[in-house]
Subunit: 730 residues, 2 copies
Amino acid sequence: MAPSAVESVSNLPLKVASKKTSSSDLLDLDLQDAELDGRVLKTFRCLIADLCQQFNGGHPGGAMGMAAIGVALWKYAMKYSPENPSFFNRDRFVLSNGHTCLFQYTFLHLVGYEYMTFDQLKSYHSSRTDSFCPGHPEIEHAGIEVTTGPLGQGIANAVGLAMATKHLGATYNKPNFPLVDNTTWCMIGDACLQEGVALEAISLAGHWKLNNLVVIYDNNQVTCDGSVDMCNNENVNDKMRACGWNVIDVENGSHDIETIVRALITAKTSQDMPTLINVRTVIGIGSKSAGDAKAHGAAFGAEDVANIKRSSGMDETKHFQVSEEVYEYFRAAKSRGRESEAEWHELVSGYRTKYPDLADEFALRMKGEFTENWEEIIPSKESFPTSPTPSRKSSGLVCNPLAEKIKNFMVGTADLTPSVNMVWNGKVDFQNPDLKTTCGINGDYSGRYIHWGIREHAMASISNGLAAFNKGTILPVTSTFFMFYIYAAPGIRMGALQNLQQIHIATHDSIGTGEDGPTHQPIALANLYRAMPNILYIRPADSEETAGAYIAALKAKNTPSIISLSRQNLEQYPSYSSRDGVQRGAYVFIERQNADVTLIGVGAEMVFAVDTARLLESKFGLKARVVSFPCQRLFDQQPIEYKREVLQYRSTAPRVAIEAYAVNGWERYADAGWSMNTFGHSLPGKDAYKYFGFDAEVIAPRVSEFIENVRQEGVENLRGEFRDLNNVSH
Amino acid sequence: MAPSAVESVSNLPLKVASKKTSSSDLLDLDLQDAELDGRVLKTFRCLIADLCQQFNGGHPGGAMGMAAIGVALWKYAMKYSPENPSFFNRDRFVLSNGHTCLFQYTFLHLVGYEYMTFDQLKSYHSSRTDSFCPGHPEIEHAGIEVTTGPLGQGIANAVGLAMATKHLGATYNKPNFPLVDNTTWCMIGDACLQEGVALEAISLAGHWKLNNLVVIYDNNQVTCDGSVDMCNNENVNDKMRACGWNVIDVENGSHDIETIVRALITAKTSQDMPTLINVRTVIGIGSKSAGDAKAHGAAFGAEDVANIKRSSGMDETKHFQVSEEVYEYFRAAKSRGRESEAEWHELVSGYRTKYPDLADEFALRMKGEFTENWEEIIPSKESFPTSPTPSRKSSGLVCNPLAEKIKNFMVGTADLTPSVNMVWNGKVDFQNPDLKTTCGINGDYSGRYIHWGIREHAMASISNGLAAFNKGTILPVTSTFFMFYIYAAPGIRMGALQNLQQIHIATHDSIGTGEDGPTHQPIALANLYRAMPNILYIRPADSEETAGAYIAALKAKNTPSIISLSRQNLEQYPSYSSRDGVQRGAYVFIERQNADVTLIGVGAEMVFAVDTARLLESKFGLKARVVSFPCQRLFDQQPIEYKREVLQYRSTAPRVAIEAYAVNGWERYADAGWSMNTFGHSLPGKDAYKYFGFDAEVIAPRVSEFIENVRQEGVENLRGEFRDLNNVSH
């Protein structure tokens, strides 16, 4: 990769005031004794080598190569408070190359995060279950803003964190009261620049001109397979510039702390664009594997660790050496943090005097709470249409008043505004205020409607950053066709893993989506989300259940939800459907005493359950109960007594689940299924259903026959012989 | 977006010989009567408007805007044979903006693809189940190279198709015998340039210098939400150049057929890089919604359709008008196709004389077959190690001799060469032959080992293109950690939908992967792939079963497979395990007459089933059978008698499935599960298992208790009350 011209950062004054906030942001760049700097870097690198060597594993090379960057960040550039890691206006740091986590853990230790003791550092890769040093950074631990590891996710999260600052700043800041103006710093390696989700996020950050975002590229040109030029020869700097980024080169990233600091400050004070700092480093510097892929993901071996220490002028017979001098080097971090906090609290206090209402609202947002009585904003059952309505439309009826009134909502779509019905009265787009679009729809950073473009993965992963800025302050609501949440799956999973509340509005579910055909008709995707820990996949059957789905999603403060909706008109069942029922995952929709069968209806396919029940009664003289089953996870959380009541486990009547998805998983609740065994087909929705046997006239006789079989064979023999009743295949 | 300088294509000679092949490639660019050209374009556009209007739906705008591009392609630039759509050395055309499928269907009709009758064209969006005109192009229909629709997939497929040409050419072409030298043409819209998978694929195409790939960008600056500048303001041309692409601008893409043709020919004859032709067009040109998002995804309404015809000088009262003149305009396509074919067959015939052995091999490859007796290449059970072995290592023992000997194999990894064990003796990398890497590992286009970089999604989606070039000619084998096949899921799904054989080697499955922690430990991903139609997800328990997994995958000629492997050492069970057993999905591993329980063991967790069985016997006096269950899909395909024999449905002994994944779906085969209810934890593999209760000492007493409960309650009451026995949670 040919580095382009190094932008000059050498003429900056050594005392640089941030353009943005208070005097605590003055960066006091005293030139340290260069030898002391060197000893600190060597201490850090030997410590990393030791920490990996003790259990013969881990990722030493990247962390060692990035040592000087870490000093520049934690000693000079970043605003943070080790004694209060959740200081609201702190800078956010994201380690997108999460495998180098020792880099972060070690700096947290050196600057004085209390929980990050030496003993804890040494728990990395140990069998200790009380370790705060997992193999990748995890959000649960102080100083870690987001969980990273899957490559490309962190930089997308960082874009979300930077957006959150822009948005909250535009909403609450006033002249002389910059309440929210922190910087987001993100480390990436060569890998993150290859992942599609990162490329999507980079494109968006450039589009939005997030000048508060600084991405530091640990450019060591090595990945697991060897040198990066085996699979990537693009001109990274030119590519970033084409995407609307500043680029600053740093040639000697292994040692030149001062140049790195100047670059960081230049980037932090960028007026117009996000900045990439392209820092040349050497992976595993000081080791025999320096600059080689071997330094990436394995300990160096005792001999080389001794060698590293020897050539660093340290005692090769000792392990885990950190002199007092090194702790002293970082000593000011705590007091600087305290000062930053104190100034900010003073600022907030003045703000409260001058803008009491806004200050109240800001305080509520800081606590991560919604406006009180939000549930009352949701339309009553009586107010919903009674004629057939697509549930994507019902969703708009529920969500749009919420989004209008609850400022926590940031709603967006992956370029499906006309399809997903998420636009509320007076919505403003989140945009750079200087943008002038061809179609004339503009916005500013206070806007809460996000045009993600056709970037489903970044939509989910950036939303994790929005949600992680301060839990509950922003509630990201994403939207696209359900099928394309398969693109977003890695991001959605990371949201679930991090306990981040979000709502994903997934329209056009099932084969009912119609003419677009099998590429657009989800068959197996629900299986992923129903099995995934800590996520609610909810398929409401009508408007009332859609209201219930939103209530469940809004109450799940530590859990993302997917609300899965129809493209097509759905029958409304005001006599049967219940928002409260949705909270329990499944409930009796139509009761019949001494029923011959229980039919389980789900979401858009409820109509087939209800119609089959009616036909069984009118034509076959059979009594069918109907259970609505919008959410398996919520049902699983109910007490056994409730489950038995709803599903009548001990009855001799069989249960049949009707859903136009793969049946896998329904075996827990049903004895038989009417489902999909293949991909879908391009046909108008109604015809697609018919083509695959979703038609009461086809279902009822088969169910009747099944009931008869069960009577003959004995219900006990159903155990373990789940029946796929829908043999229609093409 | 600021277009950069238009590269001059106006001075090209009008007769241009391809640098590559035979005289049939001479493009006879007779300047047509400009008025005739105009009438053809108008006819085409009115026809599109009519086809959408008849059922009041579909995507007219893009197809209309691209009309001149279509003429340039099908009349002038592309090599194809309407009478033999599968002519081996044809150019491949991919419609990455698949929603504009009417564009392709209509040109297939006009140039004489026999099956694409006018009657068929009119079946678009109809309820006809015999339609060959689904809402997005589908590979099953002649002239369609790959199924597209989910955005970004098509361009990745096109990269794969172009790689296939490069690879086969480098393998079989000889001086004066360019057997395989076709061009791949790919249409994209504004959306594809936003999707991460496309950006990954673009980066790779530039890296590999695929000069036989031409991407034509239908730059209409409109997507569903409005003008593209609402979400994308990057300089596309500069970005592509930074990725190693040529860029050619065409300003008047709506009408200027000649300039488009010149651009296509320039691109086709590129010596060094892939080419993007950036063509400015107007979506829905001629309609009242021209240039507006409204033209994208809805019919124009009868009034505007009449208006379009009127302003096109056509009879507004008539529908579906195609004059003889227009058919005549494309008449030469068939004869040109016949000539191309004839020349190529002559070439092959000469080649056969001169290179008989290679010709035989080439013929076998064309038929999509492997070397005969491939099964004998797989090591025997006796040759495998008997000491504990990671199944990722077993996989190498099986796959590497196959890859060495069967040239169909193209094996690659998303930057995990040291972890996935897929390198065989003498492997050559697929690389541009001019590449000189820093680490000194180079290659050429004949290479069959692919460094995908950290681009899992593109790896899968490009592999679809490799597999689709000519079914069976290339067998793509991908590899990464199982967890990161969540990034690749949209591509893997498209492979399954298209019946493309591929093998995905997914190492580091389950929590046994250890220290990397929950970000790297898959819990729910298997649920997606077990439910997805037409894919085999196979988790072998030891080396012998790994051999079985490869045999199943290699026999599944129309189905992709995922072979799911351990990072850690696994016990080997030569007395129990069976490659033949794997072919049936599940089989009896350890039989016991009158057993008290059946334990289902799966993959890396088989050890817990076997150890629990032993402990139940030695400590609890209970008899446990063990069933190995590597593949649910294969088991589902077995006759009911076999299933009953293996799982003993009618026995009173319960069945317990032991797997460190979400249990969803095991309810079909078991009465209880020992599984995961949460995400994983960062601990060494063995400790992670212990932490979550995977330990025979913990499992056996619970299973014993469960057996006792079942005896008391009666096995019939297990129906519908699946038990999660593993309550360990943290």
